[in-house]
Symmetry: C5
Subunit: 318 residues, 5 copies
């Protein structure tokens, strides 16, 4: 475990030993616990009189964001998203115990927003524990936008490919992409959607540890989360639309392939019948030595093939 | 930036320097800010004591319409739609700070409704700041109707094409049109649907800066927005219906192409077998010099071909 | 314009000049305005102190039914449906200003329910203005049932056709019918669904111009509208079900056509190979003068064709 | 009409002339009206001071279950389901006027639950009019379960058929069954779903004619109706799932038929080409009298046919 | 029946004869009834003054979880899931009568969570009857997670198979798996979803038999049930996505099979025509003894076959 206690003193934010936590009440402080073990959590829980259910949830790494209101604090589970390499989404579930003056964050991995907020806290740019909590949630939620925008671009590219596709080759290539995009949207939505409720709890002020001004800031983060879920829902509809377009295009192409097959088979079949006719052994009746018949048969074959080709092209089958 | 302050004085609406804003309280005025930079926004914010969150939202150009109630004013984000050339929808997101007496509009581009309302304001036809706000929202929303009507006409055309199509050529042409129409409907819906909530906030009167009469006018705009979203939802269902009809038509046509192929192949195959039979070298058994056999074979070929053609036509395969 | 003022006097309902409207307060009266122009509407509006928004909505012929509660009256927009000839649905949007004693109807075209209610009003069978309003809405809504029942019958016919269809010919014919039925259902639903809210407003009694007894009658009309929308929703599900059945039937038939093609092609191909084999010029090796070989080849062809035919029929491909 | 008045006297339940109804107030009684005509209904309505709207609804046989609260009684429309022969669902819509002491049932046909409850009432096993009402609704709702269970079994059978189907024959047979099952579910749901609201009205106690204990019993019937609608919704999802499985299976089989066609056509075509090659008249170049060539050609044909067959089988096309 | 009464005495939990139940009021106790018959239930019901409706529900083994609030106790129906062997889900519906001090469980079969909670109760690790109730529900709900996780893994495997599938063989194999997975999800959801309401009733505290601390624990179980239903809903969407991918892949493969067929048929047909041409008996015109013609015909056949093969490969059909 790494436990760091960052206290906002009059002379700036200082890092102090975690054990000082009990002396600090009334001074805004941030206790950041990275991968604490069971004993360490138990110590903190005793120190801050945390409810056993909240401590258990913080340890268990639930995958569903939620906010529980306790007597003097909120217990919040939230999720950060990070794209370390293209196509792989990393999810970091973290927990927050949010008191009036102390914010305790519990996490296993790390995510960019946390480091950024830490810098702002150390620089003294965040006025209170409430604004620290807002900064953590707001910066984490802001991290969703580039990811969702990226999904939007992938959808646009796939749409362009499918609607402008002539050869049909792209259809095969983009199929897997489409379904992977849809799956990613489903997974992100599952993580983001319940966060609307988390921020509603905070902006309603179920626990009286933050004032109306801070609640307004939580309301603003709520608006951002709603915007993200809106974007995701619209993207899901767009992707469904593209999938339908893809299926319709595939059906249409099948139709066209079958028309080509029918036209080609008909033309070639007719040619075969002519040559096959003159392969018959009716030497007594078919004047095989007549130039008229010979050239006539060739002419008939060519003319009927051309006529059929023209007929099928007019019908749009070739 | 262009900042224009249009004050409704007893002798008519006059344009005055923006700096006069602080002297005007109590007199209805419209401050229109086109593409303000950060410093200019900061000045206005200080003058009108705007909340930093609202100022940030006005600058950030959020894409989701919303209305936030502050102490003495509303902060509104709204979207205008314009079709500059056929098929290209331009979206203009703008913000409004709505006080009892002062309306501040912040935007980057321009849209027809704004110019129209400015004319009415200058002509003194709008009685108060509240009616100016109503005029801005109402005229902007009225601008949606021709766009949605146009989508309705595109849907009607596509429906007629698909249901009356005989040759199947139109199916290919209209496929992309259908999916583009559906995508446009999705995008417009995403912009318009949240505006219902904006107008509910205004007509509920969360901030006490407008009277019941003005709230009734906001309620009327709300009805219009509901009508637009209703139209869009019905259109989406209609387009889905057309897409389904298209797919069913494509499947049906494939069936028919395959029936033609089967019928043609069967007929021509039978003819080949006859000619091929008499191409065998069984000169001792097949009386190649018999006129009966020769003409019989030709007659059999013709009769069986005709019989098969009639059979398949009765079955509806040809 | 035709304006008729039908006043319920003690000696029966009399038609009086519209100008008498101002003298009549307290006496139940119905003012029916057919296609009024702007000036006429303005006169009525002044006489009855109508709100400008309501007057504007009455003139504009909005396509979405609604009920607005004003100080002493309701403004109602409602829609009547009429089937003048089979397959063509005519929609008549009309407006009502409903006071305690005066009902003003504004419309452009006419619809059967209006004439019927006028007769009942003239005959003195409607006790009050409230019961006149109820009769207008109730009779109009009752006019929906035959239309929806007719849709139900169309759906039943199409279902029977598709589920009992053997030849597949009906599939093509009924395709367009199905999608037109679905489109009609969408359009009717769009007009009828918002009327539930209209009747909820009336039965809630937002304006105190009708008593609890009359509100109970509005509640009854509400139940009818709910029944119509329920029917439409069930019909939409039924039609979707039929469309799916249609598509499944088309897919199944395609499967069967392809099985026939495969079976026929295989059988005829095998016959061709035999005749083609004996068309080879290997006179030294193929005993073309052997009766065994000749009849054997014919027997082989017939037997293999029959065997294949039996094989494919057992497999269910023929 | 058959009108029977069953009064629960101290010495047991006795049938008395309907005309005695007016003398009975305070004694629990059940007045059962089978197919009453207009005059008879009018008499009852006058006797019990029924509201004209309720009387009209009872006569009109509305198809939507509902419960209206009047001053001293409920007016209830409810639906019974009966399966007289397999596959045919009979619907019996009946009405109830429910007073504190008198229950009036109005119906045209009969249904098993009514007879069963009559027996229990006659045997004195139902303590009050409220418990009689509960028994009528509860027994009627219990009659839904065997019907829904039967649908569940039909769904299970169809699922088993489709998922285990090898030959594809079952697909055709079960198609119509699936869509008929889905239609039946839609129709039952339309009748049952509104009954949830009926029982909510009763268990809420909108009219003060039944005590909390009887309301608890209505709540229990409500739970049963919710269970039925839950079952139906789950069944609808299951059937949709089976329909999708069916369509996917059909597509898969089509793929396989086409692979067989392609494989068979290729093999037979190659054989034709060989025989056709040696049917050419190039006697000067093709050594038709060479045993090597003859047997070689036959060997080549056989080997290439076998090689192609193996190739296609490895690919999974044969 | 096995009835066991486990009483939490000061000296630990002791098993006492069920008949002692009446003497125990005030001491936390758990009465566990396995498969009680009608008489036994009647005895318990009399002893604890249970409501007849609750007793009937406990006996009838309803399949829908619910919680009814009675005067001094809750009646709860809940479902446990167990996977005894892979692919077979066993459902155990059990009932609980939950008093302040006594918990009565009624069940027919057994499930792991019950045994585990019994051990904890015997060990004295559960402080009160309320915590015993929480442990029963919590442990039962925790038993859902491995089952749902297992479904998630099945979905992941199927997704990987379908998106990486090259040969198309996997499509057939995974089809049934997909639909069975979807069916299982439907069935589990039907059992789990109503449990959200059960836990809402408990955490709301409709009956005043448990304190706020215990209600918080019920709230925690509620969160778990919400998480399970969320997982199931996301899984259902994922599976639908995979099914769509499957169908699209099948359509794409059909397209490709048909392209191969068309290409192969065209090439082989052209070859047939050449050989068939030189099988004609026009010995006077076709110089069958010309080496140029012979080798030319062979060259033409080979070249045109290769050219067509290249053409089709460039088109992506081969």
């Amino acid at each position: 475990m790494t436990a760091r206690l960052l206290v906002k003193q009059t002379d700036g934010v200082r890092e102090r030993p975690p054990a000082d936590l009990s002396d600090l009440r009334g001074t805004p402080a941030w206790l950041d616990l990275a991968a604490p073990d069971e004993n360490e959590m138990a110590l903190i829980a005793e120190e801050l009189e945390l409810h056993p259910l909240a401590v258990e949830d913080a340890r268990e790494r639930h995958e569903r964001p939620k906010a529980d209101a306790y007597d003097r604090y909120y217990f919040i589970t939230f999720s950060a998203l990070a794209v370390d390499s293209p196509g792989t989404l990393r999810t970091e579930i973290f927990s927050i115990f949010a008191f009036t003056d102390v914010i305790v964050t519990v996490h296993t991995g790390d995510w960019p927003a946390r480091a950024e907020v830490e810098k702002r806290w150390r620089d003294g740019r965040l006025a209170s524990a409430g604004m620290l909590l807002h900064a953590l949630l707001d910066t984490t939620v802001d991290g969703y936008f580039p990811i969702v925008d990226d999904y939007g671009e992938r959808a646009d590219v796939l749409e362009a490919v499918i609607l402008q596709d002539v050869k049909g080759d792209a259809l095969r290539a983009s199929l897997a992409d489409l379904f992977l995009l849809k799956r990613d949207l489903l997974r992100v939505r599952k993580l983001v959607a319940p966060e609307r409720e988390v921020l509603q709890v905070l902006s309603r002020g179920d626990v009286e540890c933050y004032g109306p001004e801070e609640r307004r800031y939580f309301q603003d983060v709520y608006d951002h989360v709603v915007r993200v879920t809106d974007e995701i829902d619209t993207l899901r509809d767009l992707v469904s639309n593209i999938v339908d377009a893809n299926l319709a295009a595939v059906s249409n192409r099948l139709n066209e392939v079958m028309k080509v097959l029918t036209a080609v088979a008909t033309i070639l079949f007719v040619m075969t019948i002519v040559t096959s006719f003159f392969g018959q052994n009716f030497v007594a009746f078919i004047p095989y030595d007549s130039a008229v018949v010979f050239w006539g048969s060739i002419a008939f074959t060519v003319v009927s093939a051309v006529a059929l080709a023209v007929f099928f092209r007019r019908k749009g089958w070739l």
